[in-house]
Amino acid sequence: MALLEIDGRVFDVDGDGFLTDPQIWNNEVAELIAKADGIEGMNDKHWSVIKIIRDNFEQHGNAPMIRKICQETGLKLREIYELFPLGPARGACKIAGLPKPDGCV
C-alpha cells in the first residue's frame, strides 16, 4: 500500500500505482492518473479505450481482451500502444481505475 499525490489530491494505491479502491474512480481521477503517467490531456481516442475497459470491469470484474478494445473502438493495435506508452495493462487499465492484472505485466 502506498500513497500517490497528484495535483494536491492523494490516492491509496498499490506498489505499482493502481488504485486500491476502484470505486473512488471517476473521469477526473482518470485524468489525474493519466497526467502522472505523462499523458497530458486525454483525447477522444484515449477515452474510448478507457470507457471499454471500465465497462468491462464493472460488468465482469476484469480487464477486457485487447481484441475487444480494438474491435469496439476501431483502433489499430499499434495506435493503442502509442496512446498508452505503458501498454494496455500498466497504462490504460491503471487510468481506468482497475486493480493490476496478474501475470507478466
Binding site: D14, G15, D16, G17, F18, D37, G38, N62, A63, M65, I66, R67, K68, Q71, L77, R78, P85, L86, G87, P88, A89, R90, K100, P101, D102, G103, C104, V105
Partner: protein, 437 residues
C-alpha cells in the same frame, strides 16, 4: 491455536534444510567464503548500495538457519558461529530479501570465486517461506490464476478462441491467402506451440509474427485453446507441488493432442521451468522433444525453411539477454545468429551475453507490486546500458523482459521500441505469395 500452527509450519520449513544426503544443498550452504566479489555483480547492491543486498548476505540468511539447527557448533554456540533462529524477524527479512530483492538472474554465480549457486539457495529460502504461507500476495495470485484456470491471467477459453480467430483473419488479410491458419486443438501435429498469456490478453503482435513465420516455413503446428501457457510461476513462488501441477498441464495437453515437439514461446523463466526443471517437478522424464522457439527459428534459417532479408530492419538494434535463456540457458550464440540474419545494424550492450544485466523484472518481481519501487530503481542500470548503445530497437526473446523494458523505457525516457525475436524475424521475412489464380 495460531501459534501452534506457526510452530508446525516452521518445523516443516526447517525440515527442508535437514537433508544430510543432499550434496548440492550442503555444498551451496557451506561454501561461501565471504570474499565479497559478488557484491558488485548484483543490481540491487549496485543501485541501492546497502550491505543487506549483497548476494552472499542473502545466502547467509538461509545458511545461518542451517547452522543453528543442523550443526553441532551452531547448536552449542550460535553467536560464535553466525547461527540464527528461524523467528519472526528472520522470516520478515527473508521475505524482503529473497522475494523482494533477488531476480534470481544468476549474474552473481558467474562472479563468485567458487561458483556458489546463489539463486538455488535463494529458491530454497523461498521454498521455506512457501510452506509457511509467506509468499507475497500478488505473486501467489498469479500462481493461483494459473492453477485454477490453466493460464496465469485467467483468460476464459472462449475469449482466447475469439482472439485467435481475430488474429487468423488478420493473417489471412496480410498474407493474401484464405488458407493461412492459426490452428487450434488440432491433433498429430509436428509442433505444439505455447504462449505467454500476456500475448492474447494485451500484446498479440508476437502471435501474428509467429503465425507468419510458421506460414512461411509451411509448418504443421497447433495451439491448445485451454493449456497454452508457457509460464510457470511455481518456479518463483517455490511451491513445488504447485509448480508440478502447472508443469503437468502442458505435459498432459501435448499428449492429448499427440504433438511431437513442445515449442516454448518467448519466455525466459517458462523455458527454464519447463525444459530444465519440469522433469524434476513431475518426477518423470519427457517422452517428447522440447525446445525454445529461439532454437526453432535458428533451425528454420539453417535449413532454408524461411528466407530473411535483413535490409528490411535497417535501424540500429541491440539485444537484451534474458537471464534464463542466456546465462542460465545457453542461447547466447543462437540469439545472435538469428538477429544477425534479421537486422543489418546491430550493436551490443556493455556488458552483453552471459554477463549482461537482468532487465530488473526477473524472479517474479514484475508480478510483485510490493517491490515496484526497487524494481524501477535497479532498472536504471538496464536503462543506462540501453541508452549507451544509441539503438532505436531493443530485441529480447522474453515477454517478462519486454514488460520491464517497456516500463523503464517510459520511466527513463529512452525513446526505444521493444520487440520480441519473432517480431524482428517476421519483419525480415521474404514470403512467396501462394495465391492460386
Amino acid at each position: 491455536m495460531k501459534s501452534a500452527d506457526n510452530k508446525k509450519r516452521r518445523e516443516e520449513a526447517l525440515e527442508l534444510l535437514n537433508q544430510a544426503e543432499n550434496s548440492k544443498l550442503l555444498t551451496n550452504l557451506n561454501a561461501c567464503v565471504r570474499c565479497g566479489l559478488c557484491a558488485q555483480s548484483c543490481m540491487y547492491y549496485k543501485a541501492l548500495n546497502e550491505p543487506r543486498f549483497i548476494p552472499s548476505a542473502k545466502v547467509d540468511l538461509v545458511s545461518s538457519i542451517y547452522r543453528r539447527y543442523y550443526t553441532v557448533t551452531g547448536k552449542v554456540a550460535p553467536a560464535l558461529f553466525g547461527a540464527k533462529s528461524l523467528d519472526q524477524d528472520m522470516e520478515e527479512r527473508m521475505v524482503d530479501l529473497l522475494f523482494g530483492a533477488c531476480t534470481m538472474c544468476g549474474r552473481c554465480v558467474k562472479h563468485c570465486s567458487i561458483g556458489v549457486d546463489i539463486p538455488f539457495v535463494v529458491r530454497k529460502g523461498r521454498e521455506m517461506l512457501a510452506v509457511m504461507d509467506m509468499v507475497p500476495k500478488s505473486l501467489q495470485s498469479t500462481v493461483d490464476a494459473a492453477l485454477n484456470t490453466g493460464n496465469n491471467m485467467a483468460i476464459p477459453q472462449e475469449e482466447f478462441v475469439d482472439t485467435i480467430k481475430w488474429m487468423e483473419e488478420e493473417l489471412v488479410d496480410e498474407m493474401g491467402d484464405p488458407e493461412a491458419r492459426i490452428p487450434l486443438d488440432e491433433t498429430d501435429k509436428e509442433l505444439f506451440y505455447t504462449l505467454n498469456p500476456r500475448e492474447p490478453k494485451f500484446f498479440p503482435l508476437s502471435i501474428s509474427a509467429m503465425a507468419k513465420i510458421f506460414y512461411a516455413a509451411g509448418e504443421s503446428w497447433t495451439l491448445s485453446s485451454k493449456f497454452y501457457d508457457v509460464t510457470n510461476y511455481g518456479f518463483f513462488n517455490a511451491n513445488n507441488g504447485e509448480a508440478a501441477q502447472i508443469a503437468g498441464y502442458l505435459y498432459d495437453e501435448i499428449h492429448k493432442l499427440r504433438g511431437k515437439r513442445l515449442i516454448l514461446g518467448e519466455c525466459g523463466h517458462g523455458s527454464r521451468a519447463h525444459k530444465w526443471e519440469g522433469p524434476n517437478y513431475l518426477k518423470k522424464g519427457y517422452d517428447f522433444d522440447i525446445i525454445t522457439v529461439v532454437e526453432l527459428i535458428g533451425e528454420y534459417i539453417r535449413t532454408g525453411k524461411i528466407v530473411l532479408d535483413k535490409t528490411l530492419n535497417s535501424v540500429k538494434h541491440t539485444i537484451h539477454d534474458p537471464c534464463n535463456l542466456v546465462r542460465n540457458g545457453g542461447l547466447v550464440n543462437e540469439i545472435r545468429f538469428i538477429v544477425n540474419r534479421s537486422v543489418s545494424d546491430l550493436i551490443e550492450m556493455s556488458p552483453y551475453g552471459d554477463d549482461n544485466f537482468c532487465c530488473g523484472g526477473g524472479g517474479g518481481s514484475l508480478a510483485m507490486s510490493e517491490y515496484n519501487d526497487r524494481r524501477l530503481k535497479i532498472g536504471k542500470i538496464k536503462a543506462d546500458q540501453i541508452a549507451a548503445t544509441g539503438a532505436k530497437v531493443v530485441i529480447t526473446p522474453c515477454h517478462n523482459c519486454v514488460d520491464q523494458l517497456l516500463q523503464i523505457n517510459h520511466t527513463y525516457k529512452l525513446g526505444v521500441t521493444i520487440k520480441t525475436i519473432a517480431e524482428v524475424v517476421a519483419d525480415a521475412l521474404v514470403i512467396e505469395k501462394r495465391i492460386k489464380d
